[in-house]
């Protein structure tokens, strides 16, 4: 079964880059432009993993994370933080990894593969 990854980022370029990178490697992707939209999409799509930007218009990453961690169906979904902010590893301490932009695609793919296969 194809694993589904939700990409949450306000930057269109990053969304399409990640989407391409992950689908080239056999993952199905869905995208959201900010935390508010991402909650609705996550609930509907039940992704196997989420890549999450921190700084976004409307709803930021940490607030999105707090919302999904209260949702029984989503609370165990692994989250990879991908952000340009510094000190990001403290933003969502339970994230399985935190990557700073620009990141190595191979590194992300390894993290994703280790987490969901």
């Amino acid at each position: 079964m194809t694993q589904k990854i939700l990409i949450v980022d306000d930057d269109k370029e990053i969304r399409s880059y990640l989407s391409e990178l992950l689908s080239d490697n056999g993952y199905e992707t869905v995208t959201a432009v900010d935390g508010a939209e991402a909650v609705a999409i996550a609930q509907q799509e039940k992704p196997d993993l989420i890549t999450l930007d921190l700084e976004m218009p409307n709803e930021w990453g940490p607030r999105f994370y707090r919302k999904i961690s209260q949702d029984d169906a989503l609370k165990r979904t692994p989250v990879v933080v991908i952000s340009g902010l510094s000190g990001i590893k403290y933003a969502i301490p339970k994230a399985i990894a935190s990557l700073t932009k620009p990141f190595e695609p191979a590194q992300l793919l390894k993290i994703v593969k280790d987490a969901i296969g």
């Binding site: 165990r76 590893k89 403290y90 301490p93 339970k94």
Partner: protein, 297 residues
């Protein structure tokens, strides 16, 4: 998962909790319960006299005494014995821990169930585990389940298992048991590492760095072994380990805590039950099972 359960009991009220768990489990798994009682500790070599384990009085072990103890035990656990398909009673004399271990080995049991201490033997409630448990836990080849007090949660309707690890080799065996139980019972499994920061003065970043590193270590160590089992959470709480483990069990309304004992000291002669384990046993609101050896998991 469990075919034979050895319930080691003195027949005192402090073992009633353990008895309930043992019989509940047996009912659930169709397991056999061996109610095992050490009547007394011999006073002299080749003597017929023993010190009764409950009263401490000197008594002569004859058929009459044996029949009386058996009758007492049967009355105490009458209702529970009726509930399970197979149960038998074994009475013996000797040094309790040695006899329990001997019986466990001879009967090839999958689990030993016992109380953590003989309870309120003095003016205050005992704050440490009994010496029998200490010795049985150390040497038993099978998991040892202890129930210190009567609590609301019992094996039978399991929702959450907390597996507490210190990343030791013994904890690997405990993990196997925790995972197998969670699979069998189709319940949630919380993997917990309690980060010991007692006596240290750390700034917030160092604490968070250590928490992140410990979460990563838990993930690396145990997640690849999970296979298709998905109902697990990874948690690292900082503080005094036993407090955090008991707190987590309460927070999750856990029905079982799984831990390894004697993990710090590798030399079995020197090993004493871990102080964290001991405190968890005495304080947890649910049964605690300790696993250290790979034989029966």
């Amino acid at each position: 998962m469990f075919r034979k359960i050895l319930l080691a009991t003195s027949g005192a009220p402090s073992t009633f909790g353990a008895a309930r768990v043992a019989f509940d489990m047996a009912k659930r798994y169709g397991a056999e319960v061996i109610v095992f009682n050490v009547m007394g500790v011999p006073t002299k070599a080749f003597s017929q006299e023993v010190n009764d384990v409950r009263t401490g009085e000197k008594v002569e072990v004859d058929d009459e005494y044996r029949a009386w103890v058996e009758e007492e035990l049967k009355n105490t656990f009458a209702k529970q014995i009726e509930c399970v398909e197979f149960s038998k009673m074994v009475l013996t004399t000797g040094v309790p821990h040695r006899e329990i271990l001997r019986a466990a080995r001879e009967e090839d049991v999958d689990l030993i169930v016992m109380g953590a201490s003989s309870g309120e033997s003095s003016a205050y409630r005992m704050g440490y585990t009994g010496s029998t448990l200490q010795r049985v836990a150390k040497a038993a080849r099978c998991p040892v389940l202890t129930v210190h007090r009567e609590t609301a949660s019992y094996w039978g309707g399991f929702g959450n298992i907390v597996f507490a690890t210190d990343f030791s080799k013994q904890a690997d065996h405990a993990f196997k048991f925790a995972l197998a139980s969670a699979r069998e019972l189709e319940c949630d499994l919380t993997l917990l590492h309690a980060l010991d920061i007692s006596g240290k003065v750390l700034d917030q970043n160092s604490i968070e760095d250590e928490l992140i590193a410990a979460r990563q270590r838990l993930r690396d160590m145990y997640v690849p072994l999970m296979g298709d089992f998905k109902n697990f959470d990874i948690e690292v709480w900082e503080g005094v380990p036993y407090v955090e483990i008991v707190k987590m069990a309460r927070e999750r309304s856990a029905d079982l805590i799984v831990m390894a004992h004697h993990s710090r000291e590798l030399d079995p002669e020197k090993a004493r039950i871990g102080s964290t384990m001991e405190q968890v046993l005495m304080r947890a609101g649910c049964p605690v099972v300790s696993v250290s050896k790979p034989d029966k998991v």
